[in-house]
């Protein structure tokens, strides 16, 4: 039961994007379509889970003073692995996410979970926490990507819902990212209070 709570908090109560407002750059930058959002979310989830796993294993050996640089090295290692894997197996996604893949290193969620959770908890709990937080992030990105893709180009996961001519192009472009996220946060805030 406790583990379930640990896992599920990332989706709603402590959702990284909608509640904590962490990881805003990839959230806004890659969500021009649902599939990009999902890809970015899953890549971040992988880095989160692996970084949490390794950091919770080595936490007793890291001197207190150099823990942040040590965490960054661990995180950067897994980001490099993800980058190489995506380049090899999903070249199209790799192209469209571009600069934001190496930038997973500076995603505050990853370092935040390492510092706030993995450096204090057991291996099992850290993996569950990373998985919950990462999938919650992926869910938020997919939702935002779906809204923007649907409003902007009339498609959802590349399946046409209504003719593209009626789409509002601005939602696929930069301003639409800010506006769509602003309204989504307002709606989710309202749901949380209800």
């Amino acid at each position: 039961m406790n583990q379930w709570k640990n896992f599920s908090k990332g989706f709603f109560k402590e959702n990284a994007v909608f509640t904590l407002l962490l990881g805003m750059c990839p959230t806004l930058g890659v969500t021009s379509s649902a599939i990009n959002g999902l890809g970015m979310g899953l890549a971040t989830t992988f880095v989160l889970v692996m970084a949490n796993l390794v950091i919770s294993l080595i936490k007793d050996f890291i001197p207190e003073k150099v823990r942040i640089p040590a965490f960054i090295v661990v995180i950067a290692t897994f980001v490099t692995i993800v980058e190489m894997l995506m380049q090899a197996y999903t070249p199209a996604l790799y192209e469209s996410l571009g600069l934001f893949i190496p930038l997973i290193v500076v995603n505050c969620i990853v370092l935040g979970r390492a510092e706030a959770f993995a450096s204090k908890n057991s291996v099992g709990a850290s993996i569950v926490d990373g998985l919950g937080m990462g999938l919650g992030f992926a869910m938020a990105l997919t939702m935002l990507g779906s809204v923007r893709e649907l409003l902007g180009s009339g498609k959802l996961f590349n399946v046409s819902i209504y003719p593209e001519d009626y789409g509002m192009l601005v939602f696929v472009l930069a301003p639409g990212a800010f506006i769509a996220l602003g309204y989504m946060i307002a709606i989710i805030d309202k749901m949380k209070k209800a």
């Binding site: 750059c25 990839p26 490099t80 600069l99 930038l103 930069a174 506006i179 602003g182």
Partner: protein, 190 residues
Amino acid sequence: MEYVIIIVSAIFVNNVVLSQFLGICPFLGVSKKLSTGIGMTGAVTFVMIVATLVTWLVQKLILEPFNVTFLQTISFILIIAALVQLVEIVLKKVSPPLYQALGVFLPLITTNCAILGVAILTIQKDFNLIESVVFAAATAVGFGLALVLFAGIREQLDLADVPKGMKGTPIALVVAGLLALAFMGFANLV
């Protein structure tokens, strides 16, 4: 002429915050007041120029000759983290007033994705050393411009009658969206 194109493109056309989505966290975080916005801009400008200079040299003199470019992400982020610490120590010693002004913002800069983003972008765009520094400086000016404009609007927003559900972050994001819309007017300028 080449430099003019780089500068105009980095400040207006491809504004780092409003069209590239880099450095959103400080953009939303420290934009509640104009004065903190200006302080943050100063710190970012300083670190961005130095970081781009150092990472460019490391890429060309170490990573490429030894054929280990896959270490780019790891080495760049470590350089930036170390550099921020160094800048903090040096500033404290050399110029206490400047440290007073920028000090609180420096630790936040390590996780500012604009710094790492610009360092990687200069390599991707294949700039030479001078172009890289010009690009970094212009990007920092673009960041400052967006941040100062946004902070100015947010100060006025406190007095406006905002619907209850939209107060705080949501309305700030919508305002940022409108600002991005305005910056789209610069598209095709260069």
